[in-house]
Each structure stands twice: as C-alpha cells, then as structure tokens.
Symmetry: C2
Subunit: 476 residues, 2 copies
C-alpha cells in the first residue's frame, strides 16, 4: 500500500503517510509544563507506528489560557525534550510540535482581533515564533509546524475577514505578510535544513471567508516561502462561534467549527476535493511540496485512494488515531476488523471545550490513554445466545436492544438495507440504541458486534430484521 | 451540445437543458396579483430561449408578506394565466410556478417554527398545496414545482433540525411525512399526468443540518413518491440568519445563505459534486428522475460538462439568466463573448432582502427588465485611445483607471498572471476598480472590455502591466 511508503520531508523521513494532527490533550497543568501523561500520550502514538506525530499546539507566549503546553521560554526545553525522546525511543515515528500564537479572549465574549495589535506587538510575535522554533530544535524534535489554521493569530491575519487597514491586511499580500515575516525569522534561527511545515485552512467555511479559490494562491505562496510541508485543515473560526454566557468563546461551536471536526452526519473524506485542487495547482506551478489532508479519513480505503490518485501526499487522521493509535499496525497487517473505529461522536471536542482531559469514549471507562494492543484481551462473549438482538419500532425510530457480552468495551452497530449495503452506524457502550434514520416501506437488517478495548471482536449478534410500515400516502 | 437537447419531463418536453430557477422579483404589489411587469419578466426569459422557466414562489395561503405572488384563491388564476400565455406566445419555453408555504416572521426577530403547528394546521397546509397546484393547471402552466428548499415550511419539516416530537419529526420518515401527504393530495387534484417537480436542498449548510449523506435517501424517496423532477439547491436557512433589529429575519444573511447564492469568492460549479452523488444514487436504485443542479453554473463549458458527464440532467442558472436572459441563444450561436456575465455581486439578493424590485446592476441604469437583444446597440467606442488603462499600486491593491467609452453599459475587467491564465475579475459601471487579490513578486496584466447593455463589446483597452514589489522577507 502507498500508505506505508516513506516520505522525505526536507530530510525528515516519515516511515509512512499517516499523520496524527495536533490535538489538545489538557494533560498538562496551567503552568504549561510537560507531564508524564503528556509524554505517555505521544509515546503511545509512536508505539502505534504513526509516521508523523504532531504534538498539541504549544504557545510561543505566556498569555493566559487553560492547560496548554508552552514553548515560550528556554526553561520549557527540557520537558519538551522528554516528549521527543519518548517518541524516538519507541519507534521510527517522526515528531514535530505545533507552534501557536493566539489572541486574548474573555468570559464576557470579548475577544482581541488582529486589528487591535500594534506594529510593535506584531514584531514581538515574529520574534517569539523564531525563538519557539529554535527551542523545538533544541528539544530534539524532527521539525516544527506553524499553526496558521482555525481561530488563531496567523490564521486570523490570513483570513479574508482580516480587518486591518495597513500592510498586514487589505490585500492577499497583506494578509500573508505576517506569515512571511515569521518564516524568515524562523529560518534565521534554525536554518534551511530544519523541517518546518505549516497548517492552514483550505476553506474558512465562513460567510465572507476565503475558499479554495484563494487557498490555491496561498498554498503556492507558502511553498515559495520554503515551507517543507502544507497541512490542510478547514473551518474552526471565532467569527461564527456561539457564545455561552460566562465562558470564553470556543471556536468549534458554529458551522465552521463543525466543518473542522465534522460529526457523524457529514460525508467521509469531505475535504479531499479541496486538497486535490491545491495539490494540482502546486504541481502545475512546479512545486512538489508535500501536502497533507484531514477530515473523516479514517477509512483505510479512502486514505489509500487519496494517495494513489495523487490528491495529497500524506493523510491526517485526528479523532480516528485518538480512538485507535494502532490503526497503522492494524491496517498494515490487514486486521481492519480490529480497528477501533471513530464514530465521530465528538465527545473529545466537547472535553476540549470544557478544558477537561481529552479522551475517547471508545476507551475503557476511566482510562486517560488508549489501551495497549499488547494486552491480549480475550474476545467478548455474549451472555445470552448471540446477544438476543431485538429490533422494534419506537417513537424515535428503530429501537435496538441486546444482552451484554462479557469483556465488551463497546458494541458496533451495523445496518444493511436495500440501498446502501452494510454500514457502521454507531459505536456505543450501553446495550440499547435508537436509529432515527429510517424510511417507511423499507426493510432494515441490524447486527451488533461486541468489541474488546483493543478492538478484538466477539461473534456478531443474531441479525434482527424489521419492516417499517409503508406510510399511508405511499399506497398509491 | 447536450445543453440544447430536449428533455421529456413526464410529457412536458423542455426544448433544452437550461432552467431559470424561481427568483423573487417584487414586481407585484402586496395584493399578490400578477402585474404587467411580472408578465414582462417571464416573457423576457421566454424570448431568451430558456428551456424551463420557474416562476417566482407564489403562496398557497394569505399570510402577510412583502410583495409576493399568490395562488391561494381561485381569483388569482386569471392573472397567473397571463404569465403562462405570455411565455407560450413568445417561444417553446415551458413554464411552471414554484408553490410555497412559509411560516410567520416578525420584526422582533421571532419566527414561527414547525413545532408550533397543530396537526389541524398541518392538514390545512396539505389541502392548500393541493388547491394551489390545481390552480396552476387551471392557469395553463405546464406543470408545477413544490418549494421544499431554503427556509420555508416543507424544507423546515425536512430539515435535520426539525424539532417536532410527533410523526412529523424525529425520524427521517417523520421529516418526509408532510411532503408525502402533500404530493398525495396534489395527485388527487391534478392526476399523475401533470408534471410536478420539487426543489430541495442537497445540503443545508447548517451546523446540525443534513448533508448529501441524507439527501441521497431523500432524493430516492422523492423519486419513489413520483415527483417528476428534482431541483437541487443548497442552504438559505433561518437557523444561522443574522437578525437586523427592526427587520424580519432574512434567510440569506448567514453562511447557509451565502452558500445558496454564493458570492464572487466561491468556486464555480460548487454544488456539482453533491448533485453527482444524488444522481448516481438514484441511478443505482433504478430511478431516472431528471435532476437539476444550480450554483455558479453560468459558464457554458461547466454546464455542458455536467450534462455530458451525466452528473445532472438539466442546469439551473438564476443570477446568470437574470443578468442575461439571452444566454441560451448566445451560447447556441457560439457568441460567448456577447454574454452579459454575472459577476456574483449579489445586489439582486440585497434588493430582495430590502423588498425592492429585483434587477441586475449590469442592466442599464433605471431599467426593471433586461434590455432586448433585438435592440441593435452599437459597440461602445473608447473616448480616449484604447481606454488609456492605467494600473498603479495603491493601499488597497492594484488601482485601475480608464477613460469612458460611449455606449458602454459596463466594463468587464480581465487579469492574467503567471498562474491562472486569463480571468474575468469583475464587471463594473464606474471607470475605476481596485484589485485586492494580489501577491508581491508577481506581475499582473489587466485589460478592460467596454460592453453595451446587450453584451456587444467594444475593442479591448490597452493592456496595463504591473510588477508588485517582492516583499522584504522573500529576498532570501
């Protein structure tokens, strides 16, 4: 599979095309110092065989925030080095930190915007990015990634909504000005040889935000500026966020936020056509800068297709690798049925929004890291014959009930119908589930698969069939 | 060209694959009676050779609104017949009215939602739709189209955000219940032979709205219900609309509204991949119900590609045909350079939002209908040699200035650069324009084309080249 071919990113050879993008963990404290739990999270990804691990965004400055890693002072380097070492000790995964600057937010809903920054403050941001990437190199990371996506400072400058009236705004050139100054400063600090990538939005998904029409040009400019990889994300903006009284604005609460971490009802691989345009535009202009794309790409067949069709060079999987860091091993060994498949419930996003430790609900209760694949948990066993799955029509749709299986950490629910073939609908811990996505006059067939915490499945339940009555208006 | 092949829609043979979707005109008064101006608007489309003309949404009930056509009483039939006759007298265009029910809105920002309707009120809506379509047949229309898109009642029932807790909500079946009852009632009134289409959203573009994952199933159900064509639109919802104090909520003010009538910065043909999924799903399930798609499709090459690749069966062009109803004739004759090209400025949308008569800014000042192509306006003549186009760097981008051309109704502004080939940037009436979409270190070349009101172009201006200085941070 092309997924398991290495990729050379300015000398940083990632052993496969699988990247875990930066995800907040809240495993550190407000002091921003690396903890044992932080280290354990990234070592776990490394043991899973992930090609490129992007460590959660770390701040280049001391601005108040929740529990967030910092790279804003030389004193943080020793802690950060523990992450890079733990990754390198565990596997041939490569590891880079995501480097972030963000503006101020207040519980009143007020937020600082880029037009409030003086030119001196902008100059200081440039300097801080340079120092931060130097510290990343000192902390023995394999490279660094600048965060120019979502709701953060570089992205807000890049945005089509940037309201500045000076040469940091107004034109596309102006919107790119700060990123240009930052990378120049970064190169002065770490040289041309240290791999430096950038993550930015391929679309803002805001009413007046930029679309792929402009991100083609933005990507070309970033390639010209010598960024070593481009990691494409989408949405996640403050502009359409919903303010909850008494809380700071959380940029994943509006439509753009949903597009950033799309829920179960969005199509798979939804950003791929956008990445394909950017990749093709770069190629047409003579640039082979590696491009990564993310967004519901945890189906191995989708990921492989993106690579074989040349639509992108490597694949970002955030929630899917949080759910199962062993995804790479399992895909390579062809053990697809053992993958703990993300069901896009977005509890992880909500934990982030409430400043709780970010875990996956598919992990066993109470764990703050994914269970080890080396633990050879037995396959779950039905307590009743074949789970005794029953399907009945209830007021909210088809109600499924089944018996428990011992050793089951979760139950995957599958449905087939005349139209769509077999489809994983959800993964739940309880032994009851309601399917609202039903149509009258159809027959649906369900089964439930009990799975251990490491993805070992027991035998499928019996199949429960149900005929939904034809509505009276269709009798003609 | 496939664009000019006829299409049989349940006996209604449209002479080509070009449809003008329903667009509010505000050419009638609050009484909802057809006026001479209403008739003139649709006769103009017919003279332009448009295959299927969908007349602006007309209400099945008397609820208060701005100037909006009504089909809520038999007394409206004679007026409506004047539209169908005017179209049929002018050409072989086919004409159907769009039939709408909407809920109440107030200047306070309050709006009625579907969960406020009693079952009796819902029953009344079913009845009203039946009567309205019967009147459409009596008014000698060739068919009718139900409006189940955007922010209106049928769409709000269909929405994934439908909050009803009875069998008109909760499940996908419940959300489709009202549409099912409506079409059953309509068929009881007009029989199976009268062509009845439906317009619905292929995506809601709301945070918790449905996506193409569900619209595949919705489309299949609508085909099973015997709708004779499916016209796909997108967005345009109340849920993310921005309330302006003292005004009723206008559903084209949020992101979903922008996706409904996308501005200049959105890609061309942006909904085509969604339509392609729906069409392919229908085909896989044995349905050949004609599918129309709209959304920045006024480039003839895009429209033709959609048809030849089988991604849809006919093409909706709203703003592009408002700008130039003669688009079909001009495309068929190969006179592409004569098309008055919509620049997606959305003044038409804003006129709708403020309840003004909807016109196109590319028409000559003061006109409320598109100028006649039969008026043989002379090509514009530059007042100075070749327009004396000048390009200079200003604070907001490249500032273009040129001299006037006599007989010019507008100036089309073209740019070429190293990347993108030649591109139409904008169409303006003034003789000054600023290009904010510039990057340092590039050379841009501009020219301006003066055009008469009917699209007859004068000679292009001189080409003005400009080098944008390389930013200091790129000197390395």
């Amino acid at each position: 599979m092309k997924l398991f071919e290495p990729l050379d990113i300015n000398g940083m050879v990632i052993p496969n095309r699988i990247m875990v993008p930066a995800m907040v963990t809240h495993l550190c404290k407000e002091d921003g110092v690396v903890t044992e739990d932080s280290i354990a999270r990234y070592a776990r990804y490394a043991r899973g065989g992930i090609g490129l691990i992007v460590v959660e965004a770390m701040a280049i400055h001391q601005a108040k925030s929740g529990p967030l890693l910092r790279i804003s002072d030389d004193s943080y380097v020793s802690g950060l080095t523990r992450i890079s070492k733990a990754v390198h000790d565990a596997s041939d995964s490569k590891v880079v930190p995501q480097i972030i600057h963000f503006l101020k937010v207040a519980r009143s809903g007020w937020r600082q915007t880029v037009d409030m920054l003086t030119r001196e403050e902008i100059g200081r941001i440039v300097e801080q990015f340079g120092n931060a990437v130097r510290r990343a190199r000192e902390a023995e990371f394999d490279g660094a990634e600048l965060h120019a996506a979502h709701a953060y400072t570089l992205s807000s400058f890049l945005s089509r909504t940037n309201p500045r009236e000076d040469d940091y705004g107004r034109t596309l050139e102006g919107r790119l000005h700060l990123i240009g100054q930052v990378i120049e400063r970064v190169r002065r600090e770490v040289g041309r040889d240290f791999p430096v990538g950038i993550r930015f939005n391929v679309e803002e998904f805001l009413k007046t935000g930029y679309t792929v029409e402009e991100s083609e040009l933005i990507a070309l400019r970033l390639a010209e500026l010598g960024f070593d990889y481009l990691s494409l994300s989408a949405g996640g903006k403050f502009e359409d966020a919903v303010h909850i009284p008494g809380q700071v604005l959380f940029p994943y609460t509006g439509y753009s936020g949903e597009r950033c971490m799309p829920g179960q009802w969005f199509p798979a691989a939804l950003n791929v056509p956008l990445a394909a345009r950017v990749k093709s535009f770069l190629r047409k202009n003579g640039f082979d800068t590696p491009v990564a794309i993310a967004g519901k790409l945890s189906d191995p067949a989708d990921a492989e297709r993106v690579l074989t069709e040349g639509l992108a060079d490597f694949i970002g999987i955030a929630r899917g690798l949080l759910a199962d860091p062993d995804w790479p091993h399992k895909v390579r060994r062809g053990e697809l049925e053992r993958i703990v498949r993300c069901d896009y419930c977005n509890v992880c996003r909500n934990l982030d929004g409430t400043h709780n430790v970010v875990v996956c609900t598919l992990w066993p209760q109470g764990m703050i890291q994914a269970p080890e694949d080396t633990v050879d948990l037995p396959a779950p066993q039905w307590e009743t014959d074949q789970g005794a799955l029953q399907a009945a029509i209830g007021s909210g749709g088809v109600v499924l009930k089944w018996s428990k299986a011992s050793g089951a950490a979760r139950y995957d629910i599958y449905r087939s119908d005349e139209q769509g073939g077999l489809r994983l609908l959800d993964a739940v811990k309880a032994n009851r589930w309601v399917d609202p996505g039903i149509l009258g006059g159809k027959q649906y067939r369900y089964y439930v698969l009990p799975c251990s915490a490491t993805g070992r499945a027991g035998s499928p339940s019996n199949t429960a069939s149900i005929d939904i009555p034809t509505p009276e208006y269709m009798g003609h």
